[in-house]
Structures are given as C-alpha cells and as structure tokens.
Amino acid sequence: MNLFADAIAWIFSPDRATGALPLSEAIGTHLAFTAVAVLLAALLAVPAGWVIGHTGRGREFAVALSGAARAVPSFGLVLLLVLLLGVTHKVAASTTAFVLLAVPPILAGAYTGVEAVDRRVVDGARSVGMTPGQVLRKVEVPLGLPLLIGGLRSATLQVVATVTLAGYVGSWGLGFYIVQGIQLRDFSQILGAALVIVVLAVVLDLLFALLERAVVPRGVSARRAEQSDPARRRRRREVATSAT
C-alpha cells in the first residue's frame, strides 16, 4: 500500500515537470509513437482489409497473418528490427515493429466488418445497379465500420502497451522510466510509470468504445435495440481474439 502511495506521489511530484525527461514529454512521445504506428498500420491494413472482405480473395492469407502475429513476441520483434536496421535507426526500427504489430487486428477488423454485412443487403445493392466500388463505399464500408473501429481499438491498446518496450532501445516514452527505475531500484518510479501507462490505455479504450458506438449506422442501431444479431456478436469476438 505504501509502495502504491509512493508511486502516486512520484507521478504528482513537482520533479516530474523538470529533469532530463519531464512526464508530460514522456506521455507525449508515448502517445505520438502509438498514434503514428496505428495510423501507418491503418493506411496499409484498412484498404487491404476492405478489398479482402469485398472480393473474398486473400482471406486465408489474412487469417494466417493474424495467427502468426499472435505468436510473435513483441519485444523480440523490436530488438530484431533494431539489429536489422542498425542502432542508428532506432526510431524507425521501433516504429516498424509497432506497425507490424498493429496491422493484423486492423486488417481483421476491416475485412470481418465488410464480410459481416448481410449478403442479402449486398445483393440488393448490386441488383439496383451499384458498381462494385459503389457497393463497397456506400454499403460495405459504412455497415462494417463498427468492426473496423473495434480492430483499431485492439491495435491501439496493443501498441500503447508495447511502446513501453521502446524504453529499452532509446530513452523515450514512459518505458524509459521503467528501465531507469529497474536500474536504480526505484520501485515507486517503476510503479508510477506503469500506472500512467495503464491510465492511458484505459482512457484510449474508453474513447474507442464510445467511437465504436457512434459509428453504428442509425438504421442498424434502431434495430439492434429490438433484436441482437448473433452473427455480428460472433464476428466481434473473432476480432477481439485475433488481436491478442
């Protein structure tokens, strides 16, 4: 309990505003890493996932990829990339590792979102004369948005936790406090930094949860109030598990 109080005291200590690495700067770097990695991953994975979901082609590849990604240890990946890209490119190496970790859940969210759209609705859209592109844009993407946001949510949570590891390869982010704390045996610093990371993760998760709700199309949420859709819930679980 004392350790806990010390950790809280560490967080709110005036020393956190000064020194080699002020807390606000560490949080900023941490979030910036997360945001950049998730954005880059989304740029790659969202269009790819939509195409996979729309055409049904490459699905096996996507499933295998998320499976493989689950087996890759994050820390190993970061170290491997630092070794591969050279110690002078630590930022690029770490970012690449985070992007690679973020891609599978986003890909899964994008393609399951499109796939989960009722085939009869897609059939209706095609039969009134929508081109394949229009079907994707006007029907599959908007209806698949909640699952895509779910994928982004998983990716973000995973990356925000993993960015901590960047503290081992460079003196950035909240992970640096932990690495330094271990060396100095300063447990209140370790726990304090860990708590800040937890709070960041919870806040981000909450924001995404709100967003996920906000993007459910109105006509669909009107129905959901009356009847829940087991197929949709099953998909949601798939996305959630593929992210871990």
Partner: protein, 273 residues
C-alpha cells in the same frame, strides 16, 4: 418483350437449375413463373438482369441480348423487387427509394420529389419517408422495395416472391395493390411465386415450372384451369381440391357452388362471363 432462347444454367457445383428453357414474355403484361421451391424461378429472373449469367443460350430484351449490355446499366434500367426486400438498412426509406435515380445522376431535389410520388403510388404514407427500414412492418418494407424498383420508371419490373414473408391479410392487400398498379403503370412484369392462387390472380400469362425450370404448361389462368396439360399440372394447381374443385348444389334460391370441404363458395349466375 423478353425472350429466353434455349437458356441453360448450371451452377459451379453442378446443379442444373435451368435446362434448355424457352419463353416469350409479352410486353405490358404480367407473366407469372410459378413452381415449387428449387424449380429455378429465381435463377430465371436473375438471368434477365444479369445477376446470374446463363451457361448457354440467350436472353433478349427487345431484340438485344442482355449479354451485350453493361450489367450495371442493365440493372439500373430494370426494376427488381427482391425475395427478401434487400433494402439498405443504414439508409432512410426516402434514400432507399431514390437509390437508382441518384446512381443515374438525377439531382437530389428532383429525385426526392419523384420518390415521394412513388410512395404515394405504392400506398405508403409520406410520413414514413424519414424512417429506417428496420422501423417498418414487413408489409411496409415490401412496399418500399416495390417503390425502389419503380422509382426510375423502368419498362420492366421483376418481382421475386415479393409477398412471401407477410401475413395472409397483408398479402391479399398487396396483391390487390399490385393489380391496381399494373393497370395504372402498364409495365412488363415478371412475377415469381410458389403460390398458385397468387399466380392465377396476378398473371396474364402463367408459366408452371417443374424442377430444372422445365415448363409444364404455359397459358392464361383460364386455359390452365380448364385444360391442365398433365397430371402434374392438375395436381399442382389443385383442380381436384379446395376452392377450385366445385360442385353445384340446388337450393330454393338457385344453384350455389360448393367446394370439396363442403363450404359454399358462391352462387352460380347463368349466362356468359
């Protein structure tokens, strides 16, 4: 006019849904395809707007093979009411109805005006325009499906068991409306159902199908009832049962017609119809 010539459809899994099918669908008339489940009705219908491609044979609309037309343009020019509605759940009724108009570049304002008119035509209150499909009853959703198909004023209207999922009362109401609509609009309608009564009620020409879209009989409802071409047709349309097998019974006030269940169905009026 729509013409099927030796049309065959074999699905990739080897199912022969349609085997060597020929049919002439006359313009401005309702042709009803009726047959039991799996007889290939939906397949036939969807080959007209290229939602399904024939394996062999040709389908012509006014002398032009549909295979020579761009599928997207073709579909926009044909109204199609799907077996299950197929409305877009995330769009309001009005936007569902204007879909085709918007796709073909009608300005938003004009499309809206037109859509509201079509809602009147299919008997839907304009106040429902801002609702989502999920906020409508099954019968109302079907009407929206019909309105969507009619909005761009196509010459051809394809209807696939449009009233299959509604209760008998609403169904009867929608059937009456369809008859009225057809009198007003004069479209070439191809209507699919597995309900013989519906077929005889709505069809100018009725096509009775067996497995593989094999034509058991083509004719007007009267021709078919008066002269069933085979045992199959006779039993399919039920000439020996229900309200189609009537016998006369003399009463004090004249002759009445009684069905096989013993219920009086009507009065025999002498003279020519």
């Amino acid at each position: 006019m729509i013409e099927f010539r030796s049309v065959t459809k074999t699905y990739p899994d080897g199912t022969v849904a349609v085997a060597d099918f020929d049919l002439v669908v006359p313009p401005h008339r309702t042709t009803v395809l009726v047959g039991s489940s799996g007889s290939g009705k939906t397949t036939l219908l969807r080959m007209i707007n290229r939602m399904v491609e024939p394996t062999s044979g040709t389908i012509e609309i006014d002398g032009t093979s549909v295979l020579d037309r761009d599928p997207v343009q073709l579909r926009r020019s044909i109204g199609y009411v799907l077996q299950n509605g197929g409305l877009l759940p995330h769009q309001r009724v009005i936007d569902n109805v204007t879909t085709v108009l918007r796709l073909t570049g009608t300005p938003k304002r004009a499309a809206r005006e037109r859509a509201l008119e079509v809602l009147d035509v299919v008997g839907l209150d304009r106040s429902l325009a801002e609702r989502y499909p999920s906020q409508l009853s099954g019968g109302q959703q079907q009407r929206v499906g019909v309105a969507r198909a009619l909005a761009a004023d196509p010459n051809i209207l394809l209807m696939d068991e449009p009233f299959g999922a509604v209760d008998p009362i609403v169904r009867a109401e929608l059937q009456t409306e369809t008859l009225r609509l057809q009198q007003e609009l004069n479209k070439t309608v191809v209507f699919v159902t597995h309900d013989v009564d519906e077929a005889f009620l709505l069809g100018d020409q009725v096509v009775i199908l067996q497995e593989g879209a094999h034509v058991a009989q083509i004719g007007s409802p009267s021709e078919i009832i008066e002269n069933p071409a085979s045992e199959f047709v006779a039993s399919f349309i039920g000439v020996e049962r229900g309200t189609r097998a009537l016998h006369t019974k003399r009463t004090d006030r004249g002759t009445v017609l009684v069905d096989t269940a013993g219920r009086t169905q009507g009065v025999l009026v002498e003279g020519t119809a």
